[in-house]
Symmetry: C2
Amino acid sequence: MDYSHYFENSIRETKRKLRESVRDDWLIIQAVGSIGELDRAANLLVKRLREWYELYNPEFSKSLADHGKFVELILRKGKSELLKEVKVRKEDSMGADFSEENLKPVMDLARAISELYKLRAFQEKYLEQLMKKTAPNVAAIAGHLTGAKLIALAGSLKGLAEMAASKIQVLGAERAMFRHLKDKRNRPPKFGVLHEHPLISAAKKQDHGKIARGLADKTAIAARIDFFKGKFIGDKLRQELERKFR
Amino acid sequence: MDYSHYFENSIRETKRKLRESVRDDWLIIQAVGSIGELDRAANLLVKRLREWYELYNPEFSKSLADHGKFVELILRKGKSELLKEVKVRKEDSMGADFSEENLKPVMDLARAISELYKLRAFQEKYLEQLMKKTAPNVAAIAGHLTGAKLIALAGSLKGLAEMAASKIQVLGAERAMFRHLKDKRNRPPKFGVLHEHPLISAAKKQDHGKIARGLADKTAIAARIDFFKGKFIGDKLRQELERKFR
């Protein structure tokens, strides 16, 4: 007897299951990774843009630290207008006159960077929607970006739900943790990606560890609720935290 | 008597000189730096794109190693068409079905990467023109991209013109050179950025050092001619090299 069709059926069935198994937390992991890489790429390019543009108009570039605004303004306005804004007379500028031909590649680069910024903003909106749908409680506690990073570091929402709060607290600080484990004279890290949470950055330094512990506790609870598709209590958890630490 | 207008005049004069002093080799250094950073940025993003897209259509992505072609094809053609091209039936694919909403951010990322590739190509053309104008002999020997990297590593065309051939040979291999100087058991590097030269990559390994030396010798001559605005003999120099080493 020929059993091969049994195997074939079973293989087909497995493939079908694989096709249907893409979970929203995989999309979260890709989106938050993409946002991180867009940041890195734009940063790399904007540093070059500044250096290049400063041959042409150093006074304006030095006057504006914000990369995003810098890119938008040089795309919108010409050199003489920008010099007026920083109150430098044209004959006092130390920038060189660029021919049309030499200015074009600089402006092309600025346009490309501006597109990367826009894409990053779109993808953050997309990530926010995914988080609201898949991990609303985690998003309410940790924020959608930080929450997504925690899911990515845990490998999945399931991974985060199964993780002890003490481990969530230091997710993203693996290097500092290993430094501590190798040599106890190095203090253990207080937090990993949670460091970017507004409750922590607003607090005094001596409270950081305590707040990070509180945040990690609530995030662990939130991840379990989200994984088991429980109801939304994120706002309540967050209020508890804020009452305690603000 | 008030001498302040003398100072003012002198400052104004200095600024004017600065304004007029932007030299083409500075533009070369910026352009070649920008090309390098565009490469790095696009690479970072295309790796993420592959990972993301492979949740949707792994078979096509695995079948095509070339990043540029991959990006162009997924932008031009839909999943079912691409699956047909790699001869995978839709029911055999292990990729998941993505909703329109989930596919959009992936395709946005692909479009951004495609724009970076286009910009890189434009900037390489621009660099080629600059090199033809400013350092035609160096470009003829080393190629416009490698030649521009040598100028950037030397800091200027003047720097390259003043450099000994033996130093040009290892420009870009500073790390390996220091490793050698610290511990003589490490062999000195045979070449730095010249490693990407077609004459070297086409040759047998035991000839690499010899060819690199020949290339560096001719590049040193070429840089001096270019710096002193001598006439174009790059083709002759290159032919000599090719006769000797091919």
